[in-house]
Amino acid sequence: MKKDKTYLFLLSLVYVGFVIVFCFFPRSTFSELEKRELTSFPAFTAESLANGSFTTGVNHWFSDTEPFRDFFMKTNLQQKKLIAWTFPRGDEEEVVFHATNDGAAAAEGTNAPTDLGELTADDKAKIANNGIIIVGSGDKVRALMAYGGGPNGGVSYAEAANAYHNALGSAVRVYCMVIPTAAAFYCPEKAKTKTRDQEATIRNIHNHLEPGVVAVNAFSALKTHAAENIYLRTDHHWAPLGAFYAAQEFCRMAGVPFKPLSAYQQKVVHRFVGSMYGYSQDLSIKEHPEDFVYYVPQGLNYQVWFTDYEINKNYEVVAEKKPYKGRFFQHYPDGHGGAYCTFMGGDTRIVKVVTGTNSSRRVLILKDSFGNAIPGYLFYSFGEVHVVDFRYFTHNMKQYVQQNGITDILFAHNIFNAYSPHVGKRYVKYLKQANGTFAPRTDKKTAADSLHKEHKTKPAEEHKAKTPEEQKPAEEKKEQEKPEENPNS
């Protein structure tokens, strides 16, 4: 009897402690780990009460914003790691890459498969949260986002490029680039069934381009350099070095000069852990950070103008701010998870760079966050570089192109967005929309959302075509607030 009371008393203390923490401590609002803003308290209406969404929302809010969320999440991940049985596997095979043998690698006289074969990554592969494939171990661990698109998709991306070509006439050359994700190059043979062939989709997109539109084969350009650090291991983006090779290929197709890497100043953000940690919730990613290396052009007196968009909770543009002069490169401190926002500090703006290079050519880059890494390499090649994100644009594109004297337009998107019909359609809409088109928009969802939706209707692909892209805006909004001043740029 006495022992029962002791048990009850001690356990009650622990329980009451939990209750106090969960109910009375300040609630979390942002998760560093998951790189997203947490749920807000649901709006109360008679309707939301009746259909149960209010009460469900309260429960969701309560567990989403609980105090010390990241601490609990981290404990949670450590527990999940403890339940694994790790044992040394002696015969580590080399990763067998399934890059195909054709393409630019062969054309340029290098034997790509041999090059790739020299890479000694081990064959370990496992599936983590959200279908993320974790490859390798130790310093070589790499998180891959599985690609679920089929070989016949992406047509509307090509159609958007065609539409721009037809609408803008021969004065403007249109280029179409599809940026593959890391899974295209680093997926071991074993895990091949979990992700689809990206080159097939890219080929299909290129095949749908009209003769006047120039295909920029980033896939081949990247494949040649797969042994270098062209993709971030811990983030869903490519590395700035990958963007360099893609930009090189673009400049080759555009017939403009292009400077080698030696012309740039190399900068490093050490101990970078990107979005894939929160997304895969795999501790091995967290435990093996990487260097985020980027390249800043030197010896140019370039000027950068930003036109910021104010966006609402649904990431819709509600206002356009006045253009102001700013820095193109925002340097982040070591260990900062938002280092990819180095370029222009994110997506919610139009950027115009007067490069200081004497050239009559002016390029407009239509891009997603992958494309952000490209413009920095074009300052030596074009007189002006303009950057527009596919999610945020309120002008009439035709007028914008004419008013700014654009001569070249580059579509640069990762394959997930290139695959989504909504991205292409949105670009076609930009051609027609009036200046000053603000929210409320009819198409609320971002491309990543619609990619989800699209794959919902195709159960065969549903579980694979997820992308952390949809989490990006929150991440960037947060990161933008605290970049370190960079005296060199």
Binding site: K80, A125, I127
Partner: protein
């Protein structure tokens, strides 16, 4: 709202306990004023608190259907009174009450199913698209149990509406059972006592259940989903086995975890619900499996369907068929559940004439393997509501037209290795064994202290582990609340 939800654990439950303890105090004061001759409920305030919180609990998930439940209780209340009072028309009152219950269940659970089944055989009926109210299968069965127990005079009629409402709506067992029989708790509604030992057992039981759900079932549901929800053409044979084994553990720990939490909460309030699971995966035949799995449902069908239909006295085959058809159908408005019920019905019938007669001479290990294999295959039928996917699954499962193995299977096995080990261990009566061994080997003087320490540490660990796993959990719904 479900039990394994942070809001429930840290807002609802503490608020409820505070109010309940206050109500208890009022009841105590009232009891002191009463003389022993006055026959008045000694639990009025506690019951009121329990009812209010139960309705809140239900309305939290079903803000509209809470009125359906209240209506259902009202109907059963009147039917119960009629059965009790009228001597000539008791049978009629019972029949009317039962019809109402079956009609409610038929409308809200099976209308769409009936419509689509009729349409499939060429009788076009538009589907009414009624959303399933949570827990309707459980509370309707409890209502039926009430009416029949009153009719059979196994339990006194509940003269207070509040008393019946309490029995039906009591939140510990409201949405996912166990199906509490009225005769079992009738007395405790108006008179119940809680000792420190009850509280200790109840709290510990609740935490064990929470751990089963959050630590085991939730992780297994991820593994099962990874293999069973994807495209079948990408599934390998070993993947199919691992996936369905994961589901085998998921459904057991999910459902028995819920029952543990319900029994534990009930115990803390002074109610003694019957056990719902007795280590079903330790069975040596399918017949035994069903004596250990969801016992409250099995005994419900035995006492209220099988025996009234004639049991083994007349047309036994028909009775068995009916019971298993209903058992299957109770689990969901889909033909795969019916198939699942009949699958077990046939096996149980066959066992009666074959296995059970020779079981003593067969090595135990073979009996275990045989039973587990059939149970696992059963979960394959249970999992897939879509028959074409079920077909594809079983063809992969049996090694037809699929790769034998792929790396994701190792990945899912080794990255969750200790989870699998824990699941296997806790599918066996490990708690009983340890208690027994401790009793044998430890001196009586230290056993009390040892038990206290172990129990306390285990309880805190379970609570802390579950809470940290619940933060950020996405797949947390109990499977059985949808039945």
């Amino acid at each position: 709202m479900v039990f394994s939800d942070l809001f429930f654990l840290f807002v609802f439950l503490p608020s409820f306990f505070l109010i309940y303890i206050a109500a208890w105090g009022v009841d105590k004061m009232r009891a002191q004023k009463l003389t022993s001759s006055e026959c008045v409920s000694r639990t009025t305030w506690r019951n009121a608190a329990l009812i209010v919180f139960s309705l809140l609990f239900y309305a939290w998930g079903e803000p509209i259907y809470v009125f359906l439940m209240l209506g259902s209780v009202a109907v059963n209340y009147v039917a119960g009174l009629l059965i009790d009072r009228s001597h000539r028309h008791r049978r009629l009152a019972l029949a009317a009450g039962l019809c109402c219950n079956v009609a409610i269940l038929g409308t809200f659970k099976y209308a769409d199913f009936i419509a689509s089944s009729l349409s499939a055989i060429g009788v076009p009926v538009p589907a009414p698209h009624i959303a399933l109210p949570i827990g309707i299968s459980f509370y309707t069965f409890q209502s039926i149990s009430y009416l029949i127990d009153v009719y059979r005079r196994q339990a006194p009629v509940q003269k207070k509406f509040g008393g019946l409402l309490l029995y039906i709506s009591m939140f510990p067992q409201l949405i996912a059972g166990p199906i509490v029989r009225y005769d079992l708790v009738a007395r405790e509604i108006n008179d119940r006592h809680v000792t420190a030992a009850d509280l200790r057992e109840g709290v510990f039981r609740f935490l064990i259940g929470l751990g089963k759900k959050v630590i085991l079932a939730n992780q297994f549901s991820e593994i099962a989903g990874q293999f069973l929800d994807g495209p079948m053409k990408e599934l390998s044979t070993t993947g199919a086995w691992l996936g369905i084994l994961a589901f085998t553990f998921q459904i057991f720990f999910d459902f028995s975890g819920y029952s543990d939490m319900a029994i534990g909460l009930g115990r803390c309030l002074g109610f003694h619900f019957a056990e719902n699971f007795r280590h079903p995966y330790c069975c040596r035949s399918i017949t035994e499996f069903w004596r250990r799995w969801h016992i409250s449902l099995g005994s419900f069908f035995r006492d209220y369907v099988y025996i009234p239909m004639g049991g083994n006295r007349r047309h036994q085959a028909l009775n068995i068929l009916a019971v298993w058809f209903l058992t299957g159908l109770w689990h969901g408005a889909s033909w795969n559940f019916v198939l699942w019920g009949l699958y077990f019905g046939i096996i149980v019938t066959l066992e009666k004439y074959t296995l059970l007669r020779v079981a003593d001479r067969v090595p135990r290990v073979l009996l275990h393997l045989y039973s587990l294999l059939l149970v696992v295959v059963g979960w394959g039928i249970f999992y897939f509501e879509d028959f074409s996917r079920m077909g594809e699954f079983f063809s992969v499962f049996t090694g037809h037209g699929a790769p034998f193995h792929d790396f994701t299977v190792e990945s899912a096995f080794f990255s969750n290795f200790w989870l699998w080990v824990t699941a296997v261990v806790f599918s066996m009566p490990v708690y009983d064994t340890i208690t027994r061994l401790a009793g044998k080997w430890c001196p009586a003087s230290c056993i009390g202290f040892l038990a206290l320490t172990v129990r306390l540490l285990l309880s805190i660990a379970l609570l802390a582990l579950s809470v940290s796993l619940l933060v950020g959990a996405t797949n947390n719904a109990f499977i059985y609340t949808r039945f």
